[in-house]
Subunit: 176 residues, 2 copies
DNA sequence: GCCCGTCCTGTACGGTCGTACAAGATACGA
DNA sequence: TCGTATCTTGTACGACCGTACAGGACGGGC
């Protein structure tokens, strides 16, 4: 009973860790396989396209993601607060939709890959909710700065306790 | 007299642009070549290892980089101000040493590649100058947030005038 | 006992990457 | 005019990626 979908979980855990510290594109199936002591074909067996790894890592986030976009907030600070909490809670996968899967892959051919597209629209949705429909230059800069502060503040402090990171970040981005 | 080292300049310009919007690793020699209407071998002829492209893009930055590390500043706000100014001025190549070349490539084998290593020590130097020698958790988070805000605020607003971006960012990171 | 589905491996394929090298084009000084 | 150095191309190589597929080890139900 050792190896059921237990290996699946171990692969998923290793992938989460590697994605967090190197990024999605920079992590190969062989890397993940080596981390759990398997072959890359074994990893591919459980997660057929590589995308599925990211998808499965992101699926528990989906609900909170939609909530973040759908909910109405009293004011901007309330939304920012929710955003910070979200970023900290899911910091191990934040990098996936801030960098890798949201990357501007040249002129995407009609973009039939719904995976990355969903991520991108989500990030854009966040930005609009932050900056408004048609933000001026100053607002644009400030909002990107906020997102950047959130990402790096969360990704580079993975070893610190969640609540402390959240408290500091919440305070830090108040003025953004 | 059309094609002397003029092509070199055009390649360099195209590379700067592509690196800025996609990142270094995600941009192939073929991409750059296509952007200037050449073959990838032609590009490789002028810039022999691909690293040389990054190196040549970064070389005009080196002086200001060292100045940033070497100079003594009256107080932290003074240093932050210089840092913001630096980031905005070289925003087209900022991505190179915030992401690509500074990436944690697994367990680097004694790191014989001085290129990426220099970038990494520079970024670490910046961080130390920002956070101090042995920062506590809160300071660590705040400083990464500052660097993240700088990077994204600068990279994602490449179409906005430099001075406006600088002013907004300067104001934005005051409290960090 | 046998069979069969699950899990994993080995091997191999097509693709892209950066790079190497021989040959062709082009401009310029002898 | 004829070399000759400079630039560009075509072709090819090895390394890596994700993926496909055939076969072997293992274990539970008939």
């Amino acid at each position: 009973m050792t190896t059921a979908d237990d290996t699946r979980t171990r692969i998923l855990a290793a992938a989460r860790e590697l994605f967090a510290e190197r990024g999605y594109a920079a992590t190969s199936l062989a890397d993940i396989a080596a981390a759990v002591g398997l072959t890359k074909t074994a990893v591919a067996y459980h997660f057929h396209p590589k995308d599925r790894l990211a998808a499965e890592l992101l699926s528990p986030v989906a609900d909170d993601m939609l909530a973040l976009l759908g909910d109405d907030y009293a004011d901007r600070p309330a939304f920012v607060s929710a955003l910070v909490s979200f970023a900290v809670r899911y910091r191990s996968v934040i990098r996936l939709f801030m960098e890798d899967l949201a990357g501007d892959d040249a002129v995407s051919p009609v973009s039939p890959d719904s995976e990355a597209a969903a991520i991108r629209t989500f990030r854009d949705g966040i930005f609009v909710k932050l900056a408004g429909e048609d933000p001026d230059a100053a607002t644009t800069v400030r909002c990107w700065a906020l997102l950047g502060a959130l990402q790096w503040g969360v990704v580079k402090t993975m070893d610190l306790p969640e609540d402390e990171v959240e408290a500091v970040l919440l305070e830090a981005v108040r003025t953004l």
